[in-house]
Amino acid sequence: MAAETADTPQHPPQDGIAAILKDAGIAALISLALALPLFGFRIVGFGSGRGLALEERWDWVVTAVLAVFAGRIALNLWLRRFRAVLAIGGRVGDGVGDKIGQAVAAAPRLGRILQAAKPAFRIAVAGALLAVALAWPAFPFVDRYLLDLGVIVLTYVMLGWGLNIVVGLAGLLDLGYVAFYAVGAYSYALLALHFDLGFWECLPLAGAFAAFFGIVLGFPVLRLRGDYLAIVTLGFGEIIRIILINWYPVTNGPNGISGIPRPSFFGLPFAADPPEGTVAFHQFFGLEYASTQRIAFLYYVILALALVTNLFTLRIRRLPVGRAWEALREDEIACRSLGINPRNTKLTAFAIGAMFAGFGGSFFATRQGFISPESFSFIESAIILAIVVLGGMGSQLGVVLAAVLLIGVTEFFRELEQFRMLAFGAGMVAIMVWRPRGLLAHRDPTIRLHARGEKA
């Protein structure tokens, strides 16, 4: 507590202050070098079509440098356990930092508790989460924005669960997962527009196309391991995106595809005034028209898709092929000597993961009504992978926690505009600091002996 006792012998107070100032000065210099190009200049449009101009933003640079200088001093003081100083700093601060801190610290703590707990407790938590998810659109405080947020989080949960099959269970590091998401989205868009098929007919087709692409990619590259596989899949993701940009006659290039049909409720469209001869959802059920009806329907669609993904994974983990995935991640040579065909086993993991991405992609296309290659850039793969890794590679519940944390927290700080990615980064760093093996690194065994008969 007391400042004097906390000081280490090697750093007498006066010396310490000088060192801290010097350290903070260096940090400020580095941040100056970074801030000048990053914050210092901004390109602005100039009049009507007369060109571009540079706008200088010295105030931003100064703010950034001062913030780093002060922050570095605070950090150093804290490291020397001048907790009192930090407390004052915290009170002076505007509370945003506190808010971030609390939010990101909560999840790791939750992860620790969940991991230490009995399986029954984790099941209870999963059940509670499911109940909340099912009731979400009905909560009085859930407005259109929160409903949309729910859809986004669930989309990432589903994609996380899909990728978890490939990365978490089979141990294949896939950096191009978004490619299959794109294949699913474009399959749906093109099938729906050219062949006049509905969402539910297209869904299995889109999944099949994506799985097919998974096999086509997987066949030549699954002999590679670890880093090499990661690089090749990364390249594949980019290739798909570039094909989408350049294959103008089919994909309409960078302009994307618009006018993608919205899903209907078993044939009943969601529209304020439906075309002649059709009955809209709200008319059929005698409700007032509200745009949230469509969003709520989308919400339940993605919830169902996510749950299907989850149930599928939970089930297949207990089947020979699922067990083989996990064994393959642990020791490929041992698997071979047990009669497992590593290539086919990996291919199934890759194809099934791709299939779920394809489902997710169709959902994305129908939700947006518009898709373009921009939606399928590497950052999407990175976010999904981050959710899987931070969730704890292979843990289904971990994926949910990580998705809620990363997407939720990032959205929570939406007012911060472009800085909200800082919150995303802070969330990742926090998890990695407190839970280096992911939120829930625990792996549940897939088999226990039935209690009847014997007691060991």
């Binding site: 996990e326 064994a327 642990e330 020791d331 000597s337 047990l338 226990r448 002996l449 060991a456």
Partner: protein
């Protein structure tokens, strides 16, 4: 009648010739041991039988069929189980899951019987059935590796240095289990060992490998009495 016959097998690692024409036979119900110095090519021979690496020349026949060109998983499915060098159990999986992986090629309805059989042979595995493989002791891991191989109901069991890194008492235990499996279930065993004394005492027949070639073979007792074998593999030992 032979169960496994290896004739004129050459195996390469790149340009290194690890096996230089190996001939070897195993008859049903036998325990055959292969001894040799480090790097002689013993593990390579077992792995070549399993098709990984593939033999470059020569032929390997199992139970009358040619398996030289088959992929590994197809060879294993014919009834060969391989407990590779260094145990290679799945560390994050439980003992039970490891045993389940061993039953990959077996029929699901046999699983309970096979499990009970393995638990009779290795009671310790039953006590540890929900423990993660990686947290077992070295001896327990070796028992798990053998148990896992047995779960496939093989007709030929390939064991690569099961005594590696184990205390003498545990080695004795493992060897007596091998004898028991052989006698009670008439399991054919091909045992690669550094521990020449124990291996030759246990085995019906033995082969000595030097630099990728078989230099000697005979019954276990003959080899134990052979002065070359004594000088190279038994002096200063037991």
């Amino acid at each position: 009648m032979t169960l496994l016959s290896i004739s004129g097998v050459h195996t390469f690692y790149g340009r290194i010739e690890a096996l230089r024409g190996v001939d070897l036979e195993i008859r049903p119900g036998e325990i055959v041991t292969l001894i040799g110095a480090n790097g002689a090519g013993k593990s390579t021979l077992l792995m070549t039988v399993c098709g990984h690496p593939r033999a470059a020349k020569g032929s390997i026949r199992f139970d009358g069929g040619d398996i030289t060109r088959l992929p590994t998983h197809a060879i294993i499915r014919r009834g060969i189980a391989h407990a590779p060098e260094g145990r290679r159990i799945f560390p994050r999986m439980t003992v039970l899951e490891n045993l389940q992986m061993g039953a990959t090629t077996g029929a699901p309805q046999q699983f309970d019987d096979d499990l009970a059989r393995v638990f009779v042979i290795f009671p310790i595995l039953q006590q540890r059935k929900d423990q993660r493989g990686g947290t077992l002791s070295g001896g327990e891991q070796q028992m798990l590796a053998i148990g896992r191989a047995l779960m496939a109901r093989p007709r030929l069991l390939l064991l690569d240095e099961p005594s590696l890194g184990l205390a003498p008492l545990v080695v004795k235990q493992i060897f007596s289990v091998i004898r028991e499996i052989n006698e009670r279930q008439s399991m054919t065993v091909f045992l690669v060992e550094q521990n020449a004394y124990h291996a030759l005492k246990l085995a019906h027949r033995g082969y000595v490998m030097v630099n990728g070639r078989i230099t000697l073979h005979g019954t276990g007792a003959e080899l134990l009495a052979n002065s070359d074998v004594r000088a190279a593999y038994l002096e200063g030992g037991q």
